[in-house]
Amino acid sequence: MIEALQFDFMRNALLAGVFVSIACGVIGTFVVIKRIVFISGGIAHAAYGGIGLGYYFRYSVLPALLTEAAWTRLDPRPGAYPMIGAILFSLISAVAMGLVQRRTRQRADTVIGVMWAIGMAIGIIFVDLTAGYKVDLMSYLFGSILAVQPSELFFILGLDVVIILLVVLFYKELLAISFDETFATVENVPVDVIYIVLLCMIALTVVMMMRVVGLIMVIALLTMPAAISGQFVRGMRRMMILASILGILFTTVGLWLSYAWNLTSGATIILVSGVAFLLSLAVKPLVGRWRAR
């Protein structure tokens, strides 16, 4: 591990793992206690539509509109457009799914499942339509934490700050709608707005996690640290902090194992988390018995 740290890409990957785990622990706690895993999965997969649109815009629309010189001057890193596309698209799908869930109480899960698939399909089709350059789709499906750029680290850190700020500002309302939405409504808390804000924070978290483990496994990394943490601590703040620490541990150990054994990093991180989750289930009864004594 120590000799791995001399590589820039490894240092960047480790830092990305740490930064993403912080948002993941905070937002994952809400996803677990409010039981909104399915809609979070929907937002994650729909984000792929934004990636497809980002590529299409970057490689087909902009070059067609601009002269060669202007295009070269404008040309940012290849990864930026898909990321911006993913953020916008996942925010839009988060709001849309939230509204669908609120307006039509029945069969909301069906509609969310449909939007989940449509988002992915849009992504695939737009990548097809993109002229020439074909991207490595697998890096979005399974993550590419080793390819994280320093500029992306600042971007991820920025999202962390936004998410933590929002959670601090709306902490009592977020807690209230998670615990008892009816009571919160009666107390005139704007429950729909707060819920949509929560979904938007999930969207932002999911986009940055996509870099680490890929969108297929986002949900696992979002929920497992929080689920483990919830078994051992009481109180939402403590649950968030422990979940973040666990996330950092899992991404670091996963990265190290993937480096040592030359395995896919995202999948290794998920397996480390999964093993820890299963262990926590086995250990929980013992802890309970020990506490009861």
């Binding site: 706690t29 206690i33 500002l169 709306f170 009592k172 309302e173 807690l175 209230a176 998670s178 615990f179 008892d180 009816t182 009571f183 919160a184 409504t185 009666v186 107390e187 005139n188 808390v189 704007p190 919830g230 078994q231 601590v233 009481r234 109180g235 939402m236 403590r238 649950m239």
Partner: protein
């Protein structure tokens, strides 16, 4: 409170006039009229599916009535509901939710502290007093999932009290608690009734105890005369059949034989 109350005249805490409500055009409440005076202690019973939940939703402004008017302490529902302390059923509840007794009771201050405002020392004093009222302050740091059914009920009542309500609205307050606990909850309610109007809704006859001042029966229509007695006609009208046993065994022969026509006013 200085807004034109004529002394000696009981003021209306809740008023429902010709209220119809339901879902997708299907009425569940039909022409419900209810007038609850301040400091009354009303128990409403009715069979499951008889519109108890719908009535609660209408009173809490969660379901707008299709027809009729609802006033809470003389105000529109969305404004008046801040005078209601709502105590929900505690049965459907996530045991693992990471929150303490104090955290739950503190939510009673949500309506007072708006977005971006923090709870103040004054809030904490009110929450502490509410927990003291229900004798739960010593368990303030206990996780809510580690409490017994009766204790959890008390915490929910404390949360409602922390809203500084003029009306307590309780939904099936005694489901899932044994009779010993339920009598202690009733003693608590009767103590609170010295300063707060109480409306209690249940499917369970035994929930209507000696502490309740007036009773009514709800089955789509409401049979309520502001009296303590449940007449067999009310029961028959509400439950739609002569009653042998309702829930915990009150044989219908304890009521005299009356004709249905006496119910009509």
């Amino acid at each position: 409170m200085g807004d034109g109350q004529i002394s000696g005249m009981p003021r209306e805490a809740i008023s429902m006039q010709h209220v119809w409500a339901g879902y997708s055009g299907e009425p569940v409440l039909e022409d419900v009229n209810l007038s609850v005076d301040e400091l009354d202690f009303v128990g409403l019973i009715g069979p499951n599916g008889g519109g108890k939940t719908t009535l609660l939703k209408v009173l809490l402004g969660l379901l707008p009535p299709t027809r009729g008017t609802v006033r809470i302490v003389g105000k529109d529902v969305t404004e008046g509901r801040r005078y209601i302390g709502y105590v929900p059923q505690t049965v459907a509840f996530d045991q693992d939710f990471p929150i303490s007794v104090w955290g739950v009771a503190q939510m009673g201050r949500l309506g007072t502290r708006r977005l971006l405002q923090r709870y103040t020392a004054e809030d904490n004093e009110i929450v502490a007093q509410a927990l003291r009222d229900v004798d739960m302050l010593h368990l303030r740091d206990r996780p809510i999932g580690a409490l017994s059914g009766g204790q959890r009920q008390r915490v929910y009542i404390a949360r409602a009290l922390a809203t500084e309500p003029r009306i307590l609205l309780l939904d099936e307050p005694l489901s899932g608690v044994d009779s010993e606990v339920s009598s202690s909850v009733y003693e608590l309610l009767s103590r609170l009734n010295e300063r707060i109007t109480i409306l209690l809704i249940s499917h369970d006859m035994s929930a209507i105890s000696a502490h309740v001042k007036t009773v009514g029966c709800l089955n789509r229509r409401l049979f309520y005369h502001g009296q303590k007695r449940i007449t067999p006609d009310m029961m028959q009208a509400a439950y739609g059949c002569p009653i042998d046993l309702i829930a915990h065994g009150i044989p219908h022969r304890v009521f005299g034989h009356h004709g249905l026509e006496e119910v009509q006013e």
